[in-house]
Amino acid sequence: MPLLEVRDLRTYFATRDGDVKAVDGVSFSVERGRTLGIVGESGCGKSVTALSIMGLIPKPPARIVSGSIQFDGNELTQVREAELENLRGREIAMIFQDPMTSLNPTLTIGTQITETLRRHLAMSAREADRRAVELLEEVRIPRAKERLKDYPHRYSGGMRQRVMIAIALSCNPKLLIADEPTTALDVTVQAGVLDLLEDLREEHQMAMIVITHDMGVVAEAADDVVVMYAGQIVEQASSLELFDRPEHPYTEALLDALPSLEGEGGREARLASIPGRPPDLLDPPAACRFAPRCPFAGLNDYCSVEAPELRELRPSHWVRSAHPASERAAVAV
């Protein structure tokens, strides 16, 4: 049984003009010990999906309209808030995008680590302090013992992210959700953090969800990949499969958009981008949501009227498109 199974999740945000359908029918699963990458552009709903799993969506405007989130046998959508509080930090942990603002500036790093430990593991103050030092060392913070008493503003961005990781791992969760863990960091620091995450994941035998818009990060860190667009999943496969044989035109475009030093034109070549913008999720089109930007969509294709379903093109390779690569190759001559 997979550790986490999300089925047909729909999270909507109530606004004056109606519901913004941020997550509109998303299903995936995460196996123990494996890493799932969720990739997509800003606004596609990947962060909201993660927050929905944790129950951290702001409840007044947002709500989970339907769907199920099964974690380790528990149905999270039915569970009371107090139960969720017990799960967060203990069974499922999350680290966020911006390390500069994710830590409380008026509390010491030590306090912010130990409070989690003491909340979930009933440790004494001294035990918690000792464990906190161990954790900081695990995430490779030098002079951990002294730095425990420091405030966040004395740490650099990369170090703060490591602290966030330490906090997340402190109670040995079964699942770690990393929302754009490297986006706010320098490129040089990114690699280090990703490495760290991978090492720790193996050590602690955790499952991980990495959310990013960077295909490079996905290639580096993910075992399985889910590509999201406009609140829906448009392609789902193992990482190797996805990079080897991408099917959805959007995935292909994302891969194309990666700048490369080889290929025609080399460094002089223009950067490829995807023209147009994602649809307004207040009133999404009934047709394929990618159609206006899709190079293969024709005016007379059914996808310009009706939305294509997610279908299993190959074993464990799902695509939501009327023009997946393999079918195009078959038709074109």
Binding site: R16, G276, P279, D280, A286, A287, C294, A297, L299
Partner: protein, 310 residues
């Protein structure tokens, strides 16, 4: 970038679930000011406050003109009339119609309020721009000077300034209240100028050789406009209360001249038996202040959505 004409066509043709054509297209953009106006309009409280504010202004402007009563005529036989059709707010101990006097008083009070606020803005802009724009030691010195002035408590300072003059009238009040409260405006303007100065578009303007007055006049000041507009409505209550307090204790506008504060002073000795005399100007003041605050809130939200609450 070549856009596929088929894509354009498709974009226009795509129907939404609700049947609206083109709804799958991305969101439209509007200009900053129109956007702000829409946002302001969407804020129900701000719109209502704006309306009530205008209503008050109409009342004080037209009230005395339309009223058949002489606000200064003393007629003891008409003293303490209750609220009635002929006297919508009753009369005071001298038989003067309160509806008229309240309107007349409003002219003075609101007039002082706006005049002082505008003067405060003026001084604040000059002082703050110089300090913020020039920076360095001049800025330091000017700010230290300002810090020193902060040590002078508002009301006592205003009182002292009023005493420089023979009698206290409208202009004296404006001057006194302005002098006693321009500091915050200067600070705000300076803060804005300093933060805007660092923006890239200022650097770009400098790079093409724009002179300081152009940078200040064309780039910096217009962008502080938003903050200043909000500030006007935040400063107004303070000034109006200042006038009310000073007049109430007898050191401002004194009866028989009407201002909301002097009306309150009229009612001071008789409030136990006739509370309406203090109530009326107080309600008027409170009305104005509440409106000003909601308008300021609405303007702030409209002009800078990032500061919005939930």
């Amino acid at each position: 970038m070549v856009v596929n004409p088929q894509q354009e066509e498709l974009r226009k043709r795509v129907l939404t679930r609700s049947g609206r054509v083109d709804a799958g297209a991305p969101i439209r953009q509007t200009s900053l000011w129109r956007d702000a106006w829409y946002r302001y309009r969407a804020n129900r409280a701000a719109v209502i406050a704006g309306g009530l504010f205008l209503l008050l202004v109409v009342y004080v402007v037209f009230g005395p003109i339309l009223s058949p009563y002489d606000p200064y005529a003393v007629d003891f036989s008409q003293a303490y009339q209750p609220i009635s059709w002929s006297h919508p707010l009753g009369t005071d101990q001298y038989g003067r119609d309160l509806f008229t006097r309240a309107a007349l008083g409003g002219r003075i009070s609101i007039g002082i309020g706006f005049a002082a606020t505008i003067a405060i803005m003026g001084i604040g802009i000059v002082y703050g721009s110089i300090s913020g724009f020039v920076g360095g030691r001049l800025d330091n010195g000017m700010m230290r000077f300002l810090d020193a002035l902060y040590g002078l408590p508002y009301l006592p300072f205003a009182i002292i300034v009023t005493q420089l003059f023979q009698t206290v009238n409208f202009y004296v009040m404006v001057i006194a209240l302005t002098i006693a409260s321009w500091f915050t405006a200067a600070r705000v303007v300076r803060g804005q100028i300093i933060s805007l100065k660092e923006n890239d578009y200022v650097r770009a303007a400098r790079a093409v050789g724009a002179r300081w007055y152009r940078i200040l006049g064309r780039h910096l000041l217009p962008n502080t406009l938003g903050v200043l507009i909000v500030f006007v409505f935040l400063e107004l209550p303070g000034v109006i209360l200042g006038e009310a307090f000073l007049s109430f204790i007898g050191l401002g506008i004194n009866p028989p001249k009407a201002s909301w504060g002097s009306l309150a002073q009229d009612g001071r000795d008789v409030y136990l038996a006739h509370p309406t005399m203090i109530l009326i100007p107080s309600v008027a003041i409170a009305w104005l202040i509440l409106c000003a605050f909601f308008i300021a809130d609405g303007l702030r939200d409209a002009l800078d959505p990032r500061t919005r609450e939930t």
